[in-house]
Structures are given as structure tokens and as C-alpha cells.
Subunit: 636 residues, 2 copies
């Protein structure tokens, strides 16, 4: 009894009332400035604040001061490695976006440079990526034919890129970066896997040398195209070249995976394949036997495309819509990469600042003939393993691409398309993450449904539908959580004053005459009615059990409110209705441990008075103790 | 030390693994059958199940068996009262929907009859209501001109009614009724208030006798219309009649509110006004002096309108869209009324069954020349106060309307429109709920924003925009809750083993070297990253404080997980990242009291092994106790 009396000295605390402005400020701060970006600015003189501000926008000015030759060596090696990987990939990816090959290279020149000055990730490798290229290509060709309206198509691509950049920068500037968190990890895994399969299937065109190929991306149409042309569409020379180099690339990948010291093998294999196959085609004149080749890549660096962007007319809105979607997906990929590597090396990344950097880079890119660039999963991993130290590796890569554009592009003339297809396939297989899918299945079945929904949506219908399914299921999960929160019956763990869920702790014992229910969520309009009815159903269920064992009914219902972090008007109404219903049944409602916000609102709404201040306790144990003497008296 | 050792005997319980099918079944049951509608069917013979099934569809067969003369007397009085109230209201409301007056009466004949057989609320009064009439009228006239295309307009109205019924019945049948809970109480209060003001403003046309009146419903356009016609559009005879009867009606309302025994005064005042004013216009020939009158109401009961519903063509989709919106709003109103009175008289209402009843009644209604009917706030209150016992009061009302349609409609010829306007105004002022708005302001500022958003959206823009604002803000609130959950630093209440939020309990003391953080929400993809960063920020903040007071840093971080009801793959990843970050800082991560679902997933993902089983405790007190000896040793 000592302990209880001691505990009784503590009443449920009512936090001091904050004024409205403070409350609002706190909410806005927690929502938009959760990472406290202004912390370093605190208590600094104005000149220092200015320097800090500039450094915030251009982090290179901060880390650049401690840059060393040792770091530079790491960056050069990493930069050269990712350059050798990106050049053939860029040429292939631009095909996914239905653009000429040089636009892929352009996008690996300007955006990485801008990012190196503004971005805060040290490991990300910037450039065109497979999934965004495919998404952009699919969305653009819904509006315009990439062959018939070549110029308009390209202009729409720049317009979309411009608005993708605007979207990214805006989200970052207004600190709305948390919006991309609504695409769940599981949905992204499924989407990426589906996109990888779709992209790989698309490559069958190049790999098999098929001329007439469907424009649709779903597996049924593609397979129809592939097998429909089996007799008069496949080119055996192309197949030989493509399949043998694909085997080479996949073996290189396998070697790199088996032994991390050989990470450079898969990294340079694509460039070696390009060189070998180009030379082979050149000397054998295989192009005259139906082996399709790249033919022509424009020489020279990025021309200006400011005037190509549609700032008016019907394509403005279309470009905006496509840009928003492509920009969000590109963001999701870049931020995921940035976070992964930041947590591996334990440095902080400001997601919102990162978005401003990515946005700026795409806005500038759209004006210099680039299409949407972002962080590439595969190249970032290679960058990391090659020992990159800072974003300087992106500058090195950018410089190599610059030299390539100036001097080497004509050499790509005889590169067979089949090699590009093989390179893309070997790049995207890494996006299919079986292990993640298995882990998701183990941990959360609902997540697995989202993952599979996105996957099958992309594979069987289209990239947009897959994306839509992924987002819808993710949202549905959130809504389900707030609509149908868990509730649990608590029992006392023997020998303690601890009350726990009796399903989890079968040893916990119920107190006769007292039902303890815990509500595991904030009580809001979306669940208030459910919670009220669920509590009454617990009561009815338990009373039925009591009746079977000829015990007397409940006199007290204790609602453990520790997990109830907030309550709104509908929630208060539900509590009032619960109170009335219980009164009619002769059951006393008791609340245990309402949190600071909840107790404040219980007082504001006068409900605390309605049930009586003395019916609100600090702990379940206190609440039960308050019932017990009466019960004891009743049992005499 | 005794107590602690005793507590140590309890490990964190891992609930037995359920198989997938059971888990899915439980989720589906809790989501769709939360109210356990099949409970009475359990363990019954087949014949009994059949009877129960029939009674479930037609509750009248259940309560009808215990119907008595005493109940009938109550129902007759209530039925006559609401009939006298509904007849003038119906004629006015049909004008809001831009339909001829008889359609309002039709809708008070068939739907209440159907409802009486299928519905489970004993107090609701069925018929056309102001807000739904206005909403329907606004949406319909966006598509068709009610004067120029009178027939097509009426047919579209029936089509919309049909689909409103289909929507309602479908939601109920598939037990998706919880969807209407997403329109929060606060949003409904604001929406209703705004709609009431809009409706009242619309009545200025009739009340002032203005001929040319805007079709828009926003306050600016309406005021422009009113004051633009002040010199040559107002009719003083109309104003005298309208204003004096409005004063009469409002006084009657006031009397009824002051003394509940006189509830019948406001209930019969409208009919008295109609009779008096009609007689007055008839003898004074005021209609020749510009006082507008009803002129003509079709005599006879509802004609069939099956063939008028558009089952094909462009209006099918339009009718569907309008029907879905109107149906949902009608549902919201009816279910809110049903629940309110059910909780006042303490009986249960099955929301989903109720929706099937309302849906069926509107489907049948759409085929018998009725437009969307639902439960009326004002008439249900009168019904309740007049002592209704069962839905038989609706049958009585329906019978009176039937007689009216057959014999009395010609008498309404000389009823001035101004009286109808006055009746509508006096009816809708009750929808403006100042007290609720004040309570919402007191309890929850965010709710208040939703309330005001809906209100001003309706008043200044349009009904649809107000509705859209209300729904958007409601959703935003849910999303904000799951994106930015609360976290708190816990301290020990002196003399207990209870750990509580130090903001709420300023007396709670921190344990040196140990930081205890509570996470107040399930950890999902939408908040996992935030939670991880927020915990690290707590750590940084607290360490800064320690540094200022020259204390040593933290060695342990205890995450109190009692409120964490669930965790998904992203959440597990976030915990892993948190664990790694803490390791690099030399801080040990400890978990306290994970719930059944969470501990299961911690094991499934192997994270429990990663941090060590011995780092997961039943209570915060246990966790702290496990740190203390080491701390004590370190301090020697």
C-alpha cells in the first residue's frame, strides 16, 4: 500500500497553456523544419551568418576548404570509373526516352557539374537513369510521336525537364520534401523491379534485331511483338553479338559481386564491350548484314535549348504534368540513394536542400539540351566502391563526358545497338531486389501487397498505372491505420504493477469487475466512432464470457490512454457517447494516463468535469487501485 | 531491488505466430465488420438464421412484433407534427433543387415508406433536405439550364438520384460505410453553416420579390443581385408579407427553444403561416400587385419515372458523378442524425445496414419521381421531441403527404413564394451551430481551420468548392498526423518507477547518462525517416545542454515503444539506421515495451538479434535499471 500512496502524490499533469501563436509556430517548425536547418545560424554575428548562408546554398565552399590531394586521388579514380560506365549507359538510356544518343551524354555533362557545387551527398553519381528515361519516354509518347514530330517531341522533353526541375526546387524551397516519403519503400521496390523488367523486355528489340516493335511497354504486347517476328524479324548476327556480350557483362557483374575487390570489372566491362563490338562491326561490315548500329552521334557540347522550352500553348500544361511526375520519381530515387550512402558513411543530408540542388541542376539542364537527370543506383554504388570522397568525382566524370562529346563521338558510329541493349539489361537487373521483396513479405504483408501491386501494374499495364497503384496502396495503408486502430485488453503481470496486452502476455491476469482497454492511436474523426463501438464490443464480449462462468458483471471500464497522443472534437464526442452508454449499463468510465495534449483538450471541452477529475489517473495501476476498495466492499 | 528482480522475471512477450490466412481474416473483419453484424447468427439453426436474415433486411419485422397501441399513439402525434412541418418545407426545398413543387412532396411520400420498413433508426425523419437540395440544384444547373431544358434537367435529376441511391446501397452492402467518417465533424459543421447562409441568401429572391436573380450562390454575386435591384426590383407588398411571417416563425422557434414543452409551436408555425398567408393573398388579390405565388402544383401521387432515368448517353456519366457526391453528403447527414439519436436513446445503429436502407429508398424514389431524400436535422429533432417511438411516425407522415397530394395541392395556388422563403430561412438558421464552432476552436485549432475553410469556401465560392476544401483539409490532417508524430523525452516521477513526459510532468527527473525518448505513433514509411532524425535531434539537443553544464555524454538511448502499435519495412530500416548512427556515437540503443505486432516484426527482420535480445525490456524502468549498474561502475 505504500507504493500506491506514494504514486497517488502524482496527479495527471496539465501542461501550461501555450498561446495560439506559439502552438502554431511549433507545428509549422516540426512539419517543415523538422531537421532544424537553422541551428548553425543561431547566435552568430551577421557576417558569419552571410557566409554560412552562401555555404548552405553551395556546400562546395564548405567542404572545399578542407579538400586535399589524398581526397582528389580517390575522386579521380572514382570519377574515371563512373565515366566509363556512364557513357555507354547514357547512349542507351536516351533511346528509352526516345531521344537521339547525344542527349544522354549532354545530360551527363551539365547536371553533374551543377550538382557538385550545390549538392550535399558525397557519393551520388548524377546523370540519366533507366527508370526515369523510360517513364519520361512513355509519358511523352502518349502526347507526341517521337519519330513523326521529332522536333516537337524534343521540345516537350525539355519542357518536361524544366518543370521537373521547378517541381524539385519548389518542394525543396518550401521544405515540402516530406511529400516524397508518401511513396513507401515497399512500393518503390516493386515499382523499380517492374520497371527493370519492362526496360529489359524493351531491349529485346535491339538484342534480337527486330525492326517492327510495339510502342506499348506491357509484357503481353512486347511478347506478342517478339514472337510475332520470330520467323522474319530476328537477325542472327545481331543475336550472336548481343547475347555473347550480354553473357560477358553478366559474368563481369557476377565477378564484381563475388569479390568486392574486383568492383572495377563490371564498371569497365560496358566500355570494353562497346570498344570491342564497335571494332568488330567496323572490320566485318556486319552493319550491311542487318546489324543495326548507332550511325550518328552529334559532335560537340550541349547547344542552348532555352528557346525550345514551351512557355505557352497547349504543350505548356502537358509538359508541366509530365515534369511533375518525372521530377517526383527522379527525386525519390536521388533522395533514397543520398540517404543510403549518408547513413553508411554517417553524415547528414538535408533532404530539402538536396531537392533544391537537384531542381536547379534540372532547370539549368533543360536550358542546355539535357533531359531529366538524377542519381543512378548502379553508378552511385560503383562511385562509392571506387573510393569517391566528395562530389568532385562527378566533376571528373563530367569532364570526361565533355572530352567524349568534343572528340570521340564519331567513333561510336559503328557501335551495334545490340551492345547498348545488353548494357542496359545488365544495368537494370540490379534494380530487381529479390531480397528486399522477401524481407518485405516477412515483415509486413500489406507492404508486400503494395510492392506486388506496383510490380505487376508496371509489368502488365504501364509505368504510370504501376506508379498509381503504388501510391494508392501506400495511401490506403495510412488511411486504414487511422481508421481502424488497434485496441487491446490489458491484464496485470503477476507480482508487478504493470498492465500489458493479454494476447502478448498470456500470464497477465484480469482484475475482477474491472475491464482495462488500451486504445492504440490518436482519436480522430476518422476513427472516433469505431473506437467507441470497439470498446463497447470488448465490453459485450467479455461480459458474455463472464456470464458463461456465472461471474458478476463489470463495474469499471478503464481506458488506458498512454498511446492516445491527440484527440479532436469528434474524439471528445465519442468519449461523451461512450460515457453515456456506459452510464446506462451501470459501468463507471475511468481514464488512465492521458498525454499532455489530450488532458488539455479534456479540460477545454469540459469532459474532465463530466466524468469527474477524480476518475483520471496517472497509471492503470492507480486507476485499478481506486476501484478495488469499492469492489472489496461490494463483495462482502 | 526486490521489485526490479521481480519484474525481470517477465520478458517481452512474443505472441504466437498466426498463419497468413488468419491474419488476413482478422484484418478484413476488423476493417469491414467492426460492428460484428453476424453475432446474432452465431450457433443458430438454419431456419432461425433465415428469419434473422429477413429481419436484418427488414427490421420492421423485428420491432413490429412488440409494437403496441401506446407506441402507436406517440408515433401518430409525432407523424402528424412532422407532416405539418414537411409539407411547406418540401415545396420550398424543391425550388432549391430547381424542380417543380410537387417533386418535393413526392419525395416525402415514397422514400419515408421504404425507410420505415428497412431502416433501423427510430427517430430520423426522412424527406428532402435543404443542403442536399441546394447541392443537387447547383451541380445539376452546371450541366443543364433548369428553365430552358426543363425536361432534360428533371431527367438528369432522377438519374442523379438513382446513382445516389446506388452509391449509398453499394457502400453499405460492401460495408465501406467507414468512408463517410473521413468527412470530419468539424468540416461538416462548417459546411452546414456555410450552406445554411447560402440557402438563406438565396431566399432573398423570394423574400424581396426580386425577378432577375443571379444563378451563382456565392455571397458576392448574391449581394450584387440584391442591391443592384433595390430601386426597381424589390416589391414592398412581398417584403411586408415575407418579413412579418419570418418574424412570426423566428419567434415561434425562440419559444420552442426556450421551453421544450412548446416544441410544437415552431413545428406547426410554418403550416399556419402558409394557411394564413395563402388566405390573405386570395382575398386581397395581392398576386396582381407583384406578389409572386406558387401558382400550380400538380395534383395526384407520384407518376413513374423509370423511363426518365438516363441509362445511356452523355448524361449517364454526369448523373453518376452528381449522384455520387449528393449521395455521400446525404449519407453523412442521415448517419450523423441516426447516430446522435441512437446514442441519446442508447440503441445501436448499424451504419452499413442504414446505408443499404437509404440507398434502396433513393433507388425506388428515383423511379417514382422523387429526388434525393435523406434524414432532416430539424424534422428529426421535432420527431424526437414529439415523442416518436418507431419509424411508424414516418409512415404516418407519408400518409398525410399522400392525402395532401391527392386532395389539397390546388389550395396552395395562392401561397406566396415569400412565405416559402421565410420558412426555409427559419429552417436553415438552425444549421448554423455557433456553439459547436466555439467548442471546436477551444479543442482543436486545426479542426477549426477545416471548419472555417469549409464555411468560407461554401459562402464565398460555391458548395462544391466548400466541400472540396473540407475533404482536403480533413485528409491533410490525417496525413500530417502520420507524417509528423509526436515524440517526447521521459523522466522518472520521484518515488515511483513511472516514466512520463517531462513537459507534462515538470517534476520528473532525467537519469544521468540515459536518454529516454517515447515515440507516439506507429512507425511507417511516411514517418520513419522523420522519427529517426527526430530522435537524433533530441540526442543532439540534450547533449548540448549537458555540455553547457559540463556533464558527461549519454551512454544509453532508450526508445519507449508502448505507443508504437505497428512498424513496417521502412520503419525497420529506420531503426537499423538509428542503431548504426548511435553506434558511431558510442551510444547504446535500448527498446522498451514493444507491442505484439512490433516484437514479431523485430524478430522477423532479425533486428532483435542485431541489437541483442537483452536490449529489449518490458518497461522503461527495467531498461534504466539495466543501464544503472554499468553507469555506477563507470562513475567510480
Amino acid at each position: 500500500m505504500d507504493v500506491r500512496n506514494e504514486q497517488y502524490t502524482h496527479k495527471v499533469g496539465v501542461p501550461p497553456k501555450q498561446n495560439l501563436f506559439k502552438e502554431l509556430k511549433a507545428t509549422v517548425k516540426e512539419t517543415l523544419f523538422a531537421d532544424d536547418p537553422l541551428r548553425p545560424f543561431k547566435d552568430q554575428p551577421r557576417s558569419k551568418k552571410f557566409i554560412l548562408g552562401i555555404q548552405t546554398i553551395f556546400p562546395i565552399l564548405e567542404w572545399g576548404r578542407s579538400y586535399s590531394l589524398r581526397k582528389f586521388r580517390g575522386d579521380v579514380i572514382a570519377g574515371l570509373t563512373i565515366a566509363s560506365l556512364c557513357i555507354p549507359q547514357d547512349i542507351g538510356y536516351s533511346k528509352l526516352a526516345n531521344l537521339d544518343p547525344q542527349y544522354g551524354l549532354y545530360s551527363s555533362f551539365v547536371p553533374p557539374l551543377i550538382y557538385a557545387f550545390m549538392g550535399s551527398s558525397r557519393d551520388i553519381a548524377i546523370g540519366p537513369v533507366a527508370v526515369v528515361s523510360l517513364l519520361l519516354g512513355t509519358l511523352l509518347q502518349n502526347e507526341l510521336d517521337p519519330k513523326k514530330d521529332k522536333e516537337a517531341y524534343r521540345r516537350l522533353a525539355f519542357t518536361a525537364t524544366f518543370f521537373a526541375g521547378i517541381t524539385q526546387a519548389t518542394l525543396g524551397f518550401f521544405r515540402l520534401g516530406f511529400l516524397i516519403d508518401f511513396l513507401s519503400h515497399a512500393a518503390v521496390v516493386g515499382f523499380m523491379g517492374g520497371a527493370a523488367i519492362t526496360i529489359a523486355l524493351q531491349q529485346l528489340k535491339g538484342l534480337l534485331g527486330i525492326q517492327n516493335f510495339t510502342k506499348k511497354t506491357d509484357i503481353v504486347s512486347v511478347m506478342h511483338s517478339v514472337f510475332g517476328s520470330v520467323h522474319h524479324g530476328w537477325n542472327w548476327q545481331t543475336i550472336v553479338i548481343g547475347v555473347s556480350f550480354l553473357a560477358f557483362l553478366l559474368s563481369a557483374k557476377y565477378i564484381g559481386k563475388k569479390n568486392r575487390r574486383f568492383f572495377w570489372v563490371p564498371a569497365i566491362a560496358p566500355l570494353i564491350s562497346v570498344i570491342l563490338s564497335t571494332f568488330f562491326v567496323y572490320i566485318t561490315h556486319a552493319d550491311r548484314k542487318g546489324v543495326q548500329i548507332v550511325k550518328h552521334i552529334e559532335k560537340g557540347i550541349n547547344p542552348s535549348s532555352v528557346k525550345e522550352i514551351y512557355f505557352s500553348g497547349q504543350y505548356l500544361l502537358k509538359g508541366l504534368r509530365i515534369g511533375v511526375v518525372a521530377g517526383m520519381i527522379a527525386l525519390t530515387e536521388a533522395v533514397a540513394i543520398g540517404r543510403t550512402f549518408a547513413s553508411m558513411k554517417d553524415y547528414q543530408i538535408d533532404g530539402n536542400k538536396e531537392m533544391v540542388a537537384l531542381g536547379t541542376m534540372n532547370i539549368v539542364g533543360s536550358m542546355t539540351s539535357c533531359y531529366v537527370a538524377t542519381g543512378s543506383f548502379s553508378r552511385s554504388a560503383v562511385n562509392y566502391m571506387a573510393g569517391c570522397q566528395t562530389a568532385v568525382s562527378n566533376i571528373i566524370m563530367s569532364f570526361v563526358v565533355f572530352l567524349t562529346l568534343l572528340f570521340i563521338t564519331p567513333l561510336f558510329k559503328y557501335t551495334p545497338n545490340a551492345i547498348l541493349a545488353a548494357i542496359i539489361i545488365s544495368a537494370v537487373v540490379g534494380l530487381i531486389d529479390f531480397e528486399a521483396a522477401i524481407l518485405i513479405w516477412k515483415i509486413d504483408k500489406f507492404d508486400f501487397i503494395a510492392c506486388m501491386g506496383a510490380f505487376f501494374g508496371v509489368v502488365f499495364v504501364s509505368v504510370e498505372i504501376g506508379l498509381l497503384i503504388a501510391v494508392s496502396i501506400s495511401f490506403a495503408k495510412i488511411l486504414l491505420q487511422v481508421t481502424r486502430p488497434r485496441t487491446a485488453i490489458l491484464g496485470k503481470l503477476p507480482g508487478t504493477t504493470v498492465y500489458r496486452n493479454i494476447q502478448q502476455y498470456p500470464g497477465a491476469t484480469k482484475v475482477p469487475g474491472v475491464l482495462v482497454v488500451r486504445v492504440d492511436s490518436a482519436i480522430y474523426f476518422s476513427n472516433s466512432n469505431y473506437i467507441k463501438e470497439r470498446i463497447l464490443r470488448w465490453l459485450a464480449d467479455e461480459e458474455e464470457q463472464l456470464k458463461e462462468s456465472y461471474q458478476s458483471n463489470f463495474e469499471f471500464l478503464i481506458v488506458e490512454m498512454s498511446p492516445v497522443t491527440d484527440i479532436d472534437t469528434s474524439g471528445i464526442h465519442a468519449l461523451e457517447e461512450l460515457y453515456k452508454s456506459l452510464q446506462k449499463r451501470g459501468v463507471q468510465l475511468i481514464l488512465a494516463n492521458p498525454g499532455p495534449v489530450v488532458i488539455g483538450k479534456l479540460h477545454a471541452s469540459d469532459f474532465a468535469n463530466t466524468i469527474g477529475e477524480d476518475k483520471i489517473f496517472l497509471t492503470v495501476a492507480d486507476a485499478v487501485a481506486s476501484c478495488s476498495p469499492k469492489l472489496a466492499a461490494a463483495q462482502v
